[in-house]
């Protein structure tokens, strides 16, 4: 199965990248833009074909490696590969 994982900074955590991108968008003339936050997007294929077990596996990957849970949240969607 294929998982599409998004990793975002927890609310309240400073996002220097988002801030800089927002500034650059304003400078480019996109005046109405705000609340820009940058995160990561990771695609992973797992051999597991049972959705429940695949979910468990993805959860563990996120917690152990993909997300830094001190400052980041994660979410994912699963689809048959």
């Amino acid at each position: 199965m294929k998982a599409r994982i998004t990793i975002t900074l927890k609310p309240g955590v400073l996002d220097p990248q988002g801030k800089a991108i927002e500034g650059a968008l304003h400078a480019l003339g996109f005046g109405g833009v705000e609340g820009v936050r940058q995160g990561k997007f990771i695609e992973v294929e797992v051999a597991e074909s049972d959705p429940t077990r695949a979910r468990e596996e993805i959860e563990r990957m996120c917690k152990q490696l993909l997300a830094n849970t001190i400052i980041e949240n994660y979410a994912y969607e699963l689809e048959a590969a």
């Binding site: 220097p16 990248q17 800089a20 991108i21 650059a24 400078a27 480019l28 940058q38």
Partner: protein, 229 residues
Amino acid sequence: MKASVIVFPGSNCDRDAAVALERAMGAAPQMVWHGDSELPKSDLILLPGGFSYGDYLRSGAMAAHSPIMREVVRRAEAGTPVLGICNGFQVLTEAGLLPGVLMRNATLRFICKDVRLRVERDDTAFASHYKKDEVVRIPIAHKDGCYFADPGTLYILENEGRIAFRYCEEDGAITDAANPNGSTGNIAGIYNDTSTVLGMMPHPERLIDPAQSGTDGAKMFSSLVETLH
């Protein structure tokens, strides 16, 4: 000769570049703030190393849209020589003045060390004081220096002789072991199609006097001064 060094928020090799230019030219270059839309008359435009906009989003991406860059692009297209070093190279690719992109190093780590470069051309304003196939020692210091371009672009670069420098062994051999960052074809620097715009990851301005333990970088600046004076 008049040279301009563009200063972006987060540039940090601007002074180093100015020192190198002044040493070669005998006069200080003009420092031009990124927010300016006017560029003084210049025989050379230098985009220095550093972390413009923190290298956030993609290295060089935000600086490429600074007001001054419109003018830099215009001058470059009219034939004014432009030298982009490290972050300056990244800005030049993002601004479309040079093809390809600089991606995260294959090691994923920042690397600061001396590397050997093989000089691929000595018939340009930038490299006339070097000799073709000469091996020089110049430092690199970057996290995003892995040069990538699609096969079609690479074919053109190779065929038109637009590779400026390649990472090499001490004897000039082009090997994987000599490639610090995973760049395609060990490419360390490239020219535009008129050889008037040069982008390179290594920092020639860091080895210009013996106290820095080498002077191989100085020839780039003396070449420019002799050609453009």
